[in-house]
């Protein structure tokens, strides 16, 4: 009986691994008309938890299973003595117990599965980061979005303050240098959580210099000051970073503070591009036609996703481990249709 269970586990573990490694294509297959998949890495993790979340098995059993799987395969079990969850990963090719690394998952109070999330990002995203980066880059090169943003950023530079209509204080050269450093760090990390934390530091820097904000103008002033900083930093790659985060962050983050400021950065990119297209003064309608179309397409797709995810959520009741995912999860973060040259494919 045990052997049969193991055989079964083995097969599904291999499939899990395949799913995880395929995530690269999952993230970027936006232009593929035949594809029915619009799953982010996190979405896949959510879908596959019945496979890798094996709370009932013990350490020996985990060892037994993982030693028959390729490096990189993981599962989560529960330690019977401490009742804590343990992430087990095969890290080396040798057929020895030392090839399996185990670490406890921190689940205390406000840490709220952050450790689990980070550990999974480490397992899944770290090896994929370079690949994802390359593919994202070439996709954006193809559809011209990075190029266009680069032009807009340059075009906005002369007299950026007036052009944007900034009415509050903005970071000076040193402040901008600090922001640039943070953006550079952001590009280096694979973890969307770390990226968003850096983004929040950037926003804090902007807000600090905006000073005491006036009533009725807070959001405007912040958005404009942020746009100014984005223009002055002149890093078109920020587009890829925003996309990476919006695609991979766990949904509850997208509704929280990180999500708000991520949204603000996205909004500032829209704003910057609309300025460049429509001339030196802020256009009356705010956004270009193209951006509006993209947003509409994206909105349609989001509502479809929301629907399918709600159904999925319904089927996840047994997964108590990542209760937080369940609690908040009906949507998969997904920004990439923002930039899709052919939004129709997502309908």
């Amino acid at each position: 009986k045990i052997r049969k269970a193991h055989g079964c586990n083995k097969q599904i573990l291999v499939e899990t691994l395949n799913i995880n490694l395929k995530d690269g294509s999952g993230l970027i297959n936006r232009g593929d008309p035949g594809s029915q998949r619009n799953f982010s890495v996190l979405d896949r993790i959510l879908h596959t938890h019945p496979v890798w979340l094996q709370l009932s098995i013990n350490a020996e059993c985990a060892l037994y299973i993982l030693l028959r799987e390729p490096v990189g395969t993981f599962l989560v079990r529960k330690c019977s003595s401490s009742q804590r969850k343990v992430l087990c990963v095969r890290v080396a090719a040798e057929r020895a117990p030392s090839s399996i690394k185990e670490c406890f998952i921190c689940e205390e109070d406000s840490g709220e599965y952050l450790a689990l999330e980070k550990a999974l990002f480490g397992c899944v995203l770290k090896p994929l980061k370079a690949l994802l980066g390359q593919v994202l880059l070439s996709l954006h090169k193809q559809d011209g979005t990075t190029q266009r943003l680069a032009c807009s950023l340059l075009a906005c530079q002369p007299g950026a303050l007036e052009r944007l209509g900034v009415r509050v204080g903005v970071p000076d050269a040193r402040g901008l240098e600090r922001v640039k450093q943070k953006l550079a760090l952001m590009q280096r990390t694979h973890s969307p959580i770390d990226k968003v934390l850096l983004l929040l530091q950037v926003c804090k820097e902007v807000q600090k210099d905006a000073g005491a904000l006036r009533d009725g103008g807070d959001s405007e002033d912040f958005l404009l000051a942020l746009s100014y900083v984005v223009v002055m930093c002149n890093t078109p790659q920020i587009l890829l970073e925003v996309e990476y985060m919006m695609e991979l962050l766990e949904p509850s983050w997208l509704t929280g503070e990180g999500g708000y400021y991520l949204t603000s950065v996205y909004a500032s990119l829209c704003l910057i591009q609309s300025l460049e297209v429509e001339g030196s003064s802020p256009p009356p309608r705010g956004l270009t036609r193209e951006t509006q179309d993209r947003l509409r397409a994206w909105g349609r797709r989001r509502s479809l996703e929301a629907k399918s995810n709600r159904e999925r959520q319904q089927n996840q009741n047994q997964w108590n481990c990542t209760k937080r995912f369940q609690t908040h999860s009906p949507e998969t973060p997904c920004s990439h249709t923002f930039y899709s040259p052919e939004p129709d494919h997502h309908q």
Partner: protein, 221 residues
């Protein structure tokens, strides 16, 4: 997150996103600052003091986390709206009772929200600055009549005098909870057993060609 308001498990915590919309100087920011003054600290990192605020409530024994998103009110930012209001469970549409034009803007927002998000979003129309009653330019009857006609609730507030604000948010939370609960019930009735725990494997079945590619990655990793 959206309807995620609802929650699995016995220990329910509702999380709702509420977006604040309205023209520049109708006082929406001071409204929410007034409400959230006792500054909160969420799991999230550094709470930047500005346009994003949160509040934790306990309503009839259920925990509710509110995330309140302020938006840029000027007309030139109007088109950015969808980026901010997506996935909202509730919207607070603020106008200034002394400014007829700001009420028209609210009507535009209502139209847009209903079109984009349907009836699942709970709408609150809020006439702010009732401390300036003498200068009122939007009649109570008109505003309340309009709210009713679009399935929204109408409130009168004064951020200055701290009037009507607690009631507004409490009421909104209750409505969002009802919506989330109704949705949960609907889900409970409507979902068949066929799509249960096998979904993880199904993904692979969908994409045989991609699986081959991944196999290559596997062996090299």
């Amino acid at each position: 997150m959206a309807s995620g308001g609802g929650a699995g498990g016995s220990n329910k915590t509702y999380s709702f996103k509420v977006v604040l919309l309205g023209e520049g100087c109708v006082g929406k920011t001071s409204l929410v600052l007034r409400y959230c003054e006792n500054k909160f600290n969420d799991k999230h990192i550094t709470t930047l003091q500005a346009s994003f605020l949160t509040k934790k409530l306990n309503i009839t024994g259920k925990r509710v986390n509110l995330a309140i998103w302020d938006t840029a009110g000027q007309e030139r930012f109007h088109a950015l709206g969808p980026i901010y209001y997506r996935d909202s469970n509730g919207a607070i549409l603020v106008y200034d009772i002394t400014d007829e034009d700001s009420f028209q803007k609210v009507k535009n927002w209502v139209k847009e929200l209903r079109k984009m998000l349907g009836n699942e979003i709970c709408l609150c129309i809020v006439g702010n600055k009732i401390d300036l009653e003498k200068e009122r330019h939007v009649s109570v009857e008109e505003a309340e009549g309009y709210a009713e006609s679009v399935g929204a609730k109408h409130y009168h507030t004064s951020a200055k005098l701290n009037k009507g604000i607690e009631e507004l948010f409490l009421d909104l939370c209750k409505r969002m909870m009802e919506t989330a609960q109704a949705e949960e019930r609907a889900k409970g009735n409507g979902v068949s057993q066929s799509t249960s725990s096998r979904r993880g494997v199904q993904i692979v079945d969908d994409e045989p060609q991609a699986a081959t590619v991944a196999g290559g990655c596997c062996s090299s990793g």
